[in-house]
């Protein structure tokens, strides 16, 4: 049967019940050791710090790769143009040889149709080597 309790009585009942439950809870508690919690916190903090620091580097890697790909495409484009010119140059030489019957042909190494593809190929080799070094260094 229920009866009406005064507030001090209710406070006593509730506080006693909760204090007893708290005492039980403390006995039940099996928290991991402080050493383990500290170690896990260290590992997690370190992992988070590494992740935070490496995020901009990943962006730099991506940019470097994109830039070198763009450069490569540009160089290939230029090289194709140069190749067309070189073929035309060889065709001209062949035509002039056939016409004059001369055996010695003076090849003009300073011609832009020769220099352009060679320079493009040289640049692409250098750029790709530097890009590969930057991307794969320290990994």
């Amino acid at each position: 049967m229920k009866r009406d309790y005064s507030d001090p009585e209710i406070e006593a009942i509730v506080s006693e019940a909760i204090a007893a439950e708290a005492s039980t809870a403390r006995r039940e508690a099996r928290p991991p050791s402080s050493a383990i919690v500290w170690w896990r916190a260290q590992m997690r903090a370190r992992a988070e710090a590494t992740k935070a620091v490496e995020r901009p580097l990943t962006i730099v890697h991506g940019l470097a790769l994109a830039a070198s790909m763009g450069l490569l495409v540009g160089v290939v484009g230029t090289a194709i143009g140069g190749l067309k010119g070189t073929i035309a140059w060889f065709a001209g030489i062949y035509a002039s040889l056939a016409a004059s019957g001369t055996s010695a042909v003076a090849i003009d190494f300073t011609s832009r149709w020769f220099m352009l593809p060679m320079t493009a190929m040289l640049i692409s080799v250098v750029v790709l080597s530097v890009a590969a070094f930057v991307i794969f260094a320290d990994e």
Binding site: A29, R46, V134
Partner: protein, 183 residues
């Protein structure tokens, strides 16, 4: 201007990651002492407020980690402890928004010490049932007041309430708990 290469940046970043331990708010000895003094009580709070032992296990470590990562300048041990309880309370509130069952009475009877009498066991079950009928904030409030002995100001600080409202809220929570215990 100094020439800093890309590799230097990488080396620096690795160094700063290694130095993460100094970024924590306490040194190891201070932390371990504080943890040993508070972890049992905090586990009790978490298990009774969440009503789930597994949640208490998970949130205990998360609470201490967030405390370690905080940039708060603590004035005293009490201040630090209250801040820890505030973190723990927020974590319980967040976990409640997920689909985990709330107050499933998962503290098994087998965990109760063998010396306990049948009457003790029944009383404890009644208390847990009564706590389960309260709102989480009411449980937290009663626990802080009567298990931890926190003042109204401290309760308000932990739960993010106004100090002036704690007296009335405690009064209501007590009535509700007493009523649940009587049933």
């Amino acid at each position: 201007m100094a020439n800093v290469t890309f590799l230097d940046v990488r080396r620096l970043s690795a160094d700063s990651a290694d130095a993460a331990d100094v970024a924590l708010a306490m040194d190891e000895d201070a932390f371990r002492g504080f943890y040993d003094r508070t972890s049992g009580a905090l586990w009790g709070y978490l298990s009774r407020i969440s009503g789930d032992r597994q949640v208490a296990d998970d949130l205990l470590q998360e609470s201490y980690y967030r405390l370690l990562k905080s940039n708060v300048a603590f004035e005293s041990e009490n201040h630090r402890r209250n801040y820890l309880y505030r973190i723990a309370t927020n974590l319980v509130n967040d976990s409640r928004r997920t689909s985990r069952p709330l107050f499933d009475n998962s503290v098994e009877m087998s965990d109760i010490a063998a010396s306990d009498t049948h009457a003790d066991t029944e009383t404890r079950q009644d208390v847990r049932r009564a706590l389960g009928k309260l709102k989480p904030r009411e449980r937290a409030m009663l626990w802080l007041a009567y298990a931890n002995g926190s003042s109204h100001a401290e309760i308000a600080d932990v739960l993010g309430l106004k100090t002036g409202s704690i007296k009335l809220l405690l009064f209501r929570a007590r009535r509700k708990m007493a009523s649940a215990l009587q049933r």
